[in-house]
């Protein structure tokens, strides 16, 4: 083996998961289309997207519950594409927790260790430890039917974590919980993940979950990955019109390229003509293009720093505490969102027409002409 191959194999071993061009079809419907992903050791990865985008199917392929038509799955650097679920170094938490209704909490949590043929005293001891760690020790002899949603969630998590798998796959794990519980549970899970160093693959349609938890966020749409990166990456620099539109607080503009000079492009839209930084992208004159501006980057005190300007009609103001969101109607009939710090006094009232502006560098050009 030459040194390059050695280096590569070491590099692979450091990845907890690698997907190479996964494809999955159901009849004529393509559920997952060419998804590639690399998860390093102990990473928290969130698969984010609208329902039906293929995120759950991707997760099920990783678990071995679905077999991809094409592509490779490597878990811990080892080829696992053809392995059944019970031979993979994973555990999974299901959306409705999938607790076994006929088993007590203790039996349930010990199930994974039983399957690994650990001696009984060891199982009993370890179950006791884990139940205590998850604060569900008093429930040991209860059956799932008599537990609350939050308790079930803990039991499901304890059951999945007890064997300390390389990967924990979570399919909308807190979707079934009350809103008031979610924030606490999210924080606990994040701390748990950091403490154990187990890689989490977390599927969700909730962007708050994805951005507050994920080290790596993968946005999917129509069976494909639209963008993957850190939360900052995706929030600050959405790569496509879909990502920009899917993520709250973005204003998306679509238009045609008028000219392209000195790193900036002029793009004509139905709401006006705006200057957008190209950042090395080569744009053809006359090609369609889209860009976005975040709501908090639009100002109502326009100065010469704001060459991108438009006048819009305010239709509603929503107050969220941290921000005050103004809903404007653009000249082309679309909605424009403008955020202001909630601590500042209200300046714009519904019914007013206001001149708004933003800086060139706050404008994000999207890849391709899709959308």
């Amino acid at each position: 083996m030459d040194s390059l191959a050695v280096a590569e194999s070491i590099g692979l071993r450091q990845l907890d998961l690698e997907l190479r061009n996964i494809r999955k079809r159901y009849g004529s419907f393509t559920a997952v289309d060419g998804v590639s992903l690399k998860v390093s050791k102990g990473q928290f990865v969130c698969l984010l997207g609208p329902s039906g985008c293929g995120k759950t199917t991707t997760l099920r392929c990783i678990a071995g519950l679905e077999e991809p038509d094409d592509g490779d799955i490597l878990i811990g650097g080892k080829e696992a594409t053809g392995d059944p679920p019970w031979k993979r170094d994973i555990a999974m938490m299901f959306q409705d927790f999938a607790l076994f209704p006929h088993m007590t909490v203790a039996k349930q949590v010990g199930f994974g260790l039983e399957m690994l043929k650990r001696p009984r005293p060891e199982i009993a001891e370890r179950v006791q430890q884990v139940l205590t760690a998850f604060e569900i020790a008093p429930l040991a002899d209860r059956k799932p039917g008599s537990l609350s949603g939050g308790q079930r969630q803990r039991v499901a998590l304890a059951r999945a974590m007890i064997t300390e798998p390389r990967l924990l796959l979570l399919d909308e794990p807190i979707g079934a919980l009350d809103y008031s519980l979610r924030e606490t549970v999210m924080l606990e899970l994040k701390l748990l993940q950091q403490r154990t160093g187990i890689s989490f693959i977390w599927v969700t349609h909730d962007q708050n979950e994805a951005f507050s938890l994920g080290d790596l966020v993968v946005v999917m749409n129509h069976a494909k990955i639209e963008q993957q990166g850190t939360p900052e990456d995706i929030l600050q620099r959405p790569a496509t019109a879909f990502v920009a539109g899917f993520i709250q607080g973005n204003n998306v503009f679509r238009g045609k390229v008028l000219e392209c000079t000195a790193g900036n492009a002029r793009i004509e839209t139905a709401a006006g003509t705006f200057t957008v930084p190209c950042l090395g992208a080569s744009l053809e004159i006359g090609a369609t293009a889209s860009f976005s501006v975040r709501a908090e980057n639009i100002s109502d005190t326009v100065s010469e720093r704001h060459p991108n300007r438009l006048t819009a009609h305010c239709t509603a103001v929503e107050y969220f505490g941290a921000v005050r969101r103004h809903i404007f109607e653009r000249a082309d009939g679309e909605i424009l969102k403008v955020d202001q710090f909630g601590a500042q006094a209200a300046r714009i009232a519904p019914g007013q027409s206001v001149l708004l502006g933003w800086q060139v560098e706050d404008t994000v050009l999207h890849q391709g002409t899709r959308g």
Binding site: M92, A98, H102, L116, A160
Partner: protein
């Protein structure tokens, strides 16, 4: 939600017709049976003194006791056979047949024969099992035997074969229901916890279908214990079970003896059902998800 309150006048009126019916055709006849079985003396009249003599006579007769034992063992064998075959059919239909159209076709093929009456289906076995019956002719045609096998018809074996075909659906039906109620995620969760398929079945699927198995067994038990028609037609006059004895006494106008056997049969069934309820609380069927 129901707008009829518990213990309101309306609820009692709704229960009234069924209550009258049950009283008339179930409760009163059973009480009468029990009463008649205790009649002593020479005359057959309500004025007879009450005694256990009729029961003593029954238990003193070795042939009758042998018959009772045969009935119980025969029923146990049938429960075992229909239980295993029924579970396999139920599992195959719900878990293995993935295509909805195929599932419907197979389900109909399985269920439609049961739309004919039990008696006719019992009798229909006679031309199959006889010396010149379909099975023997097929065996001789293929050269499996030279002479026809007489053991099929008018034998315990023939009775069992006919009854297995009659009652397997009763064993399978409740299991189909319970299997359908198992969320697929439960099996998937077990698999991701490193349980291979056989372990998933034994630790997850089977325990969750146990109430269905028990109900199926109760249905088969009650039906086989009470089945005199199949025994009479397929078994000829050579074989009898307890219910045939009831018929025999009745036709011989020995009403007191007939009542005794009927009461004993009922007691056996009651014990069987109570035993089943001890294993699984059938009333809680479907309450656990």
């Amino acid at each position: 939600m129901s707008t009829i309150r518990v213990r309101s006048a309306a609820s009692y009126w709704l229960a009234f017709p069924a209550a009258v019916w049950m009283l008339g055709v179930v409760v009163v006849p059973i009480v009468l049976l029990g009463w008649v079985s205790l009649w002593g003396g020479r005359t057959f009249s309500p004025a007879s003194p009450l005694t256990f003599d009729n029961y003593t006579k029954f238990f003193a007769n070795k042939t009758y006791l042998q018959l009772a034992l045969t009935t119980v063992t025969h029923t146990a064998v049938l429960m075992a056979v229909t239980g295993v075959i029924g579970y396999c059919i139920a599992y195959f239909l719900t878990m293995k047949v993935k295509h909805p159209a195929w599932r419907l076709v197979l389900f109909l093929a399985f269920v439609v024969p049961f739309w004919t009456s039990t008696l006719i289906r019992g009798i229909a076995w006679v031309p199959f099992l006889g010396v010149n019956g379909v099975i023997n002719q097929a065996l001789m045609f293929t050269g499996a035997t030279r002479t026809p096998i007489e053991a099929f018809l008018y034998s315990r074996f023939g009775i069992s074969m006919a009854q297995v075909s009659l009652y397997t659906m009763m064993a399978a039906g409740p299991v189909v229901y319970m299997l359908n109620a198992i969320a697929p995620q439960l099996r998937e969760a077990a698999m991701t916890l490193k349980a291979p398929p056989l372990v998933v079945f034994w630790r997850i699927v089977f325990p969750l279908t146990l109430p269905g198995v028990v109900i199926g067994q109760v249905l088969v038990f009650l039906n086989v214990m009470a089945d005199f028609a199949t025994v009479a037609t397929v078994g000829g006059n050579k074989h009898a079970m307890l219910p045939n004895l009831v018929l025999l006494f009745y036709e011989g106008s020995q009403h007191r003896a007939a009542s005794v056997v009927a009461v004993l049969l009922m007691v056996c069934m009651l014990i069987g059902v109570i035993a089943a309820m001890r294993i699984v609380d059938i009333r809680r069927l479907g309450a656990e998800r």
